[in-house]
Amino acid sequence: MLLGFVLILSIYLGLELISKVPSTLHTPLMSGANAISGIALVGALVLSQDGQLQTTLAFLAVFFASINVFGGYLVTNRMLKMFKKK
């Protein structure tokens, strides 16, 4: 139940935080948020590994979440570096 509480409050917080974004930042925000969704990596790391199938699933989950994390942050950073004021 407590976790449900955390879920609702975080969604509400997120909606409040990001409500006004300049359109210049739409893509970086999307790509930065996308990198954050790679947090699934933390979940993938604690999966049980009893047996061949479970170990394979854990490995694949870790692998794909890592692509998301590293790729996401680097692309966002590259993109943000291009935005500059003259």
């Binding site: 739409h26 969704s37 979940g43 170990t55 694949l60 692509i67 003259k86």
Partner: protein
């Protein structure tokens, strides 16, 4: 008494710190001056959350090799990709995040969920993760133009049907199977169905609606991560996932508003079904113009508004456009760029392209900023944009795009429209702008036309 701090407590404390950093990071990502720092903070948050989780791993060699391999491939793609293919890259990474949560849910199901709530959560996480994965792959294919299947084709219809079946089967699995003793492999069926369903979710959605789909899929991957957090009793997953879910939702709403359509209309109806009531086949005189005549007008203009659209992305004309902008400025002309939120194929697509070409972001203006002063603009140059400058949206109540906020270039003194041919835009609506008396059509490839103008300026 045991004074040693146990590992779970230490991890939970670190997760709190990490959550705070994520929140601060995403907040800073929403402002131009702090965005780079915000992204860095959220990367730090990710790093410490992952780092503390690595204490006491069951099978570290397998997992570390997974991280290493993912890091190498992810970094390679991210550093190699051309800036123009950012939309499809974001879609691809997003899909991998969805796939990870899909696999997490699968693994949790194999552990045997011990309550109705747990098993319901497993299936919802599986469904959202799976739909995000294959949906993003289709979005990737559409954006990189590897997949080109018409909305009306039989393949699209089959997959759309599977999408609805997968939703029905999901509800069946969640609510009915716990009451029965499952006599068949319903979970295996669900695994396959949600993956196929994701294809059917995105396949019928057209290119111009892609900004909405991409933001929505982005939101889904966050929600899936948050659900996985509920499943694994992990707070940082819930907080970070919810933030992504919320930011994706906000972007989705912004995009839908910019098209004046509801989200469900975009996802499930599309433009095709809005009846072709165009009795107002507004045909009229088209005024073509040559590059050298266009140059003469531009040279004497004191203010110019450039309005790019997807056509600029296709023609890869952003660098040439920037060059033209600079030459105009040297000539004493006030140059601004009018950027419509849904121009292009993802949120902020035009901003990224122009930033790549080194256009300063303070000359990029939103429709609300340029519309009130449109009547003092000497020349509005429309480059490969169509629906976002279609005056029907303000003048013709019967039009399918009526009510959509547009950049009102038709109020400028002169409008140049750079266009390949007279075909209509994504919405399939004829554009009366082309027939206005102040409009001049500059036919041909956008990049060639602009290079033509650039060389005229240089001579």
């Amino acid at each position: 008494m045991d004074f040693a701090i146990d590992i779970p407590t230490l991890q939970n404390i670190t997760y709190i710190i990490s959550s705070v950093l994520f929140i601060t990071g995403i907040k800073m990502l929403g402002k131009e001056s702090t965005a780079v720092k915000g992204n860095f903070l959220s990367a730090v948050a990710m790093f410490i959350a992952v780092g503390i989780t690595c204490i006491g791993l069951v099978n570290p060699i397998v997992l570390f090799s997974g991280i290493l391999l993912g890091a190498i491939i992810g970094s390679f793609i991210a550093l190699k990709v051309k800036m123009t293919s950012i939309p499809e890259m974001v879609a691809l990474f997003n899909g991998f995040g969805g796939l990870a949560t899909f696999l997490i849910a699968w693994s949790e199901f194999n552990n045997g969920p011990d309550s109705f709530f747990q098993s319901a959560l497993v299936m919802f996480t599986l469904a959202i993760g799976g739909i995000t994965f294959t949906g993003s792959l289709i979005a990737y294919g559409k954006l990189s133009e590897k997949i080109n299947i018409a909305k009306t084709s039989i393949i699209t219809k089959i997959f759309t049907t599977i999408f609805y079946i997968s939703l029905a089967f999901l509800l069946y699995s969640v609510f009915i199977t716990p009451l029965l003793i499952p006599t068949f492999e319903f979970f295996t069926v669900l695994l396959v169905l949600v993956l196929l369903g994701g294809i059917g979710f995105v396949l019928p959605i057209g290119g111009g609606d892609m900004p909405v789909v991409i933001s929505l899929l982005n939101s889904f991957s966050g929600i899936a991560a948050a659900f996985a957090g509920l499943l694994l009793f992990n707070n940082v997953l819930i907080v970070a996932g919810s933030l992504v879910g919320a930011s994706g939702l906000i972007l989705t709403v912004i995009m839908a508003k910019a098209m004046n359509r509801s989200i469900s209309n975009i996802l499930f109806v599309g433009y095709a079904s809005s009846s072709p009531s165009s009795s107002s086949e507004e045909q009229g005189e088209i005024n073509p113009i040559s590059v050298s005549d266009a140059y003469l007008i531009l040279e004497n203009a004191s203010s110019v508004l450039i309005v790019p659209g997807y056509g600029m992305a296709v023609a890869q004309a952003q660098h040439t456009v920037r060059e033209l902008g600079e030459l105009l400025e040297e000539n004493g002309t006030d140059v601004k760029y009018g950027i419509h939120p849904v121009a292009g194929r993802m949120p902020g697509h035009m901003n990224v392209l122009l930033a790549e070409a080194n256009v300063s972001y303070d000359v990029l203006a939103e429709p609300d900023d340029v519309n009130p002063t449109m009547d003092v603009v000497d020349v509005a140059v429309v480059i490969g944009a169509n629906d976002v400058v279609n005056p029907s949206a303000t003048e013709e109540p019967g039009s399918p795009i009526y009510g959509m906020p547009i950049i009102e270039v038709h109020n400028a003194r002169t409008v140049f429209v750079l266009k390949r041919s007279m075909s209509s835009g994504f919405a399939g609506v004829q554009n009366p702008l082309f027939f206005k008396s102040n409009t001049r059509m500059l036919f041909g490839d956008a990049k060639e036309s602009i290079s033509g103008l650039v060389s005229e300026f240089k001579d």
